[in-house]
């Protein structure tokens, strides 16, 4: 394997006639310069000009896709929606925190208008949700906002703490009980998958 060339920002890579600029590069006065410090990668697309890019980290950054099941933590609630931080995509933890929103009408599949967010989620709950859509300014954007839904039986709150601070046990799809004080609290509970139940 031939040694890969390393570059630092500001180094001239090639002319715009030979390649087209990819990630980690910029175009100036008909020349392509590097904008990151890393390995220079030149990929030939076939008929078009090869794309020259600078790779800093070899592992691709994981981004939640539409339809992916994500694990998130509720940060704030509002009568119209709940704001969450997405922590895991499937079973892989994310390096960066992405923000998500669960709207009032996406909490449940039935009786959407009678939903009360306060009785479905509370700040600090861990929720399983599915990605509906997202808005990115550009790939890898910091401020991407994901629209999530819990309108399925298997989605919803998995871990919640009661007002006493103890982790609660689910008793139905809409209630959880604290084992210490035996107080019941309303949540939109996720149905436990049969394979995780120990009968």
């Amino acid at each position: 394997m031939s040694p890969m060339k390393l570059c630092v920002p500001g180094e001239k890579l090639c002319s715009a006639e030979d390649c087209s600029p990819g990630a980690g590069t910029y175009l100036r006065h008909g020349q392509i310069f590097a904008s990151l410090a890393g390995y220079v990668l030149k990929k030939s697309e076939g008929e078009e000009l090869p794309v020259i890019s600078v790779i800093k980290e070899t592992e691709a950054q994981l981004l939640p896709d539409v339809g992916a099941i994500v694990t998130c933590k509720v940060t704030s609630i509002n009568p119209r929606f709940a704001k969450v931080h997405i922590l895991y995509v499937g079973s892989t933890p994310l390096k960066e925190r992405f923000r998500g929103t669960i709207r009032k009408e996406d909490v449940r599949a039935t009786e959407k208008d009678k939903v009360e967010i306060y009785k479905s989620f509370r700040p600090g709950d861990i929720v399983l949700a599915k990605v509906v859509s997202f808005s990115h300014i550009s790939l890898g954007d910091v401020q991407s906002n994901y629209l999530l839904t819990t309108a399925e039986n298997e989605l919803g709150v998995v871990v919640a703490h009661s007002e006493a601070g103890v982790q609660m046990v689910p008793i139905s799809w809409c209630e959880m009980q604290c084992p210490r004080t035996h107080a019941k609290e309303f949540r939109k509970v996720a149905r436990v998958q049969p394979e995780y139940l120990q009968a």
């Binding site: 394997m1 630092v8 920002p9 500001g10 310069f33 300014i137 910091v142 401020q143």
Partner: protein, 282 residues
């Protein structure tokens, strides 16, 4: 009408007394012109002779990117966090990101012990740092995000702002923030007809002045070497105009001397961070 009896009011029109007084000699040592001699550490006057530099990236593991630089006895540490979401949403620019700089002297860095509270000199230096670094960053690629640069001076032995600029740009590259070019800094002390490049603290404060009353001052330049653009220029003291242009040219030459060392440190850090991607990788 209520009269404020507790305070002694100043006159309505007041002017700075320094405008009316001729330039005072700045100390007993410097009233007499001293013969021109070589610099204390053996470098030459009026020549582009920078101190040897040690630079390493990746020192602060908790930060996204970091760099440590030593030039002579001056030691500067920089940590970069971000790009992350801006905390203040009031003046956030929706189209481009923001750069926030923080500059601090450690209390043990100067001959006289300081405090951890940021003084006005540090705030000015932070402002100068921000102005020098801003043109080098591709902030339009990080809309509504903020990049934080924290510089800590561990030992102050002259030309701190210049080395802080270089160190900060190395840390930004280490953090993976997209930049148009590196930003390198170099400082100079004009002493009469000769200049001292990359001055030490004693040289910077005028201790080794040969012509104490004429053409004394300091110039700091921040340069983007590949693009050949000057992003920051600071001068203080009383300098003749041809001295200023000669000083800027000398500082630019000093920055070009620094470039290979900085490049080598960044390449070393990039190679250490990740193995080269395979040919079949995307």
């Amino acid at each position: 009408m209520p009269v404020d009896t507790r305070r002694v009011r100043a006159p309505e029109e007041s002017q700075c007394p320094l405008l009316f007084v001729p330039l005072l000699p700045r100390g007993p040592l410097r009233t007499v012109a001293q013969p021109e001699k070589a610099r204390v550490d053996g470098r030459q006057r009026s020549q582009v002779d920078v101190r040897p530099v040690f630079a390493r990236c990746g020192l602060v593991t908790q930060a996204k990117g970091s760099a440590y630089m030593e030039a002579g006895k001056t030691k500067v540490l920089c940590a970069v966090y971000g790009p992350r979401e801006s905390e203040r949403k009031d003046d956030t620019d929706m189209k481009a990101g923001r750069l926030v700089c923080d500059f601090r002297y450690a209390p043990f860095s100067c001959p006289k012990r300081g405090t951890w509270i940021q003084g006005s000199e540090e705030r000015d230096a932070a402002q100068a740092l921000q102005e020098a670094l801003r043109p080098g960053l591709c902030l339009h690629r990080y809309p509504r995000a903020q990049v934080e640069v924290n510089v800590l001076v561990l030992e102050h032995d002259g030309s701190v702002l210049a080395h802080a600029v270089t160190c900060a740009s190395m840390a930004l590259v280490d953090a993976g923030v997209e930049m148009y070019d590196l930003v390198l800094g170099c400082a100079l002390r004009q002493d009469g007809d000769s200049y001292l490049l990359d001055p030490t603290l004693a040289e910077e404060s005028g201790g080794h002045a040969t012509q104490p009353e004429d053409n004394q001052g300091g110039v700091t330049v921040a340069l983007l070497p590949s693009l050949g653009q000057v992003s920051g220029l600071h001068a203080d003291g009383e300098l003749r105009d041809e001295s200023v242009s000669a000083a800027v040219r000398a500082c630019m030459e000093g920055c070009h001397r620094l470039y290979p060392v900085v490049r080598r440190a960044l390449v070393y850090a990039a190679r250490r961070k990740a193995a080269p991607p395979g040919d079949a990788d995307d």
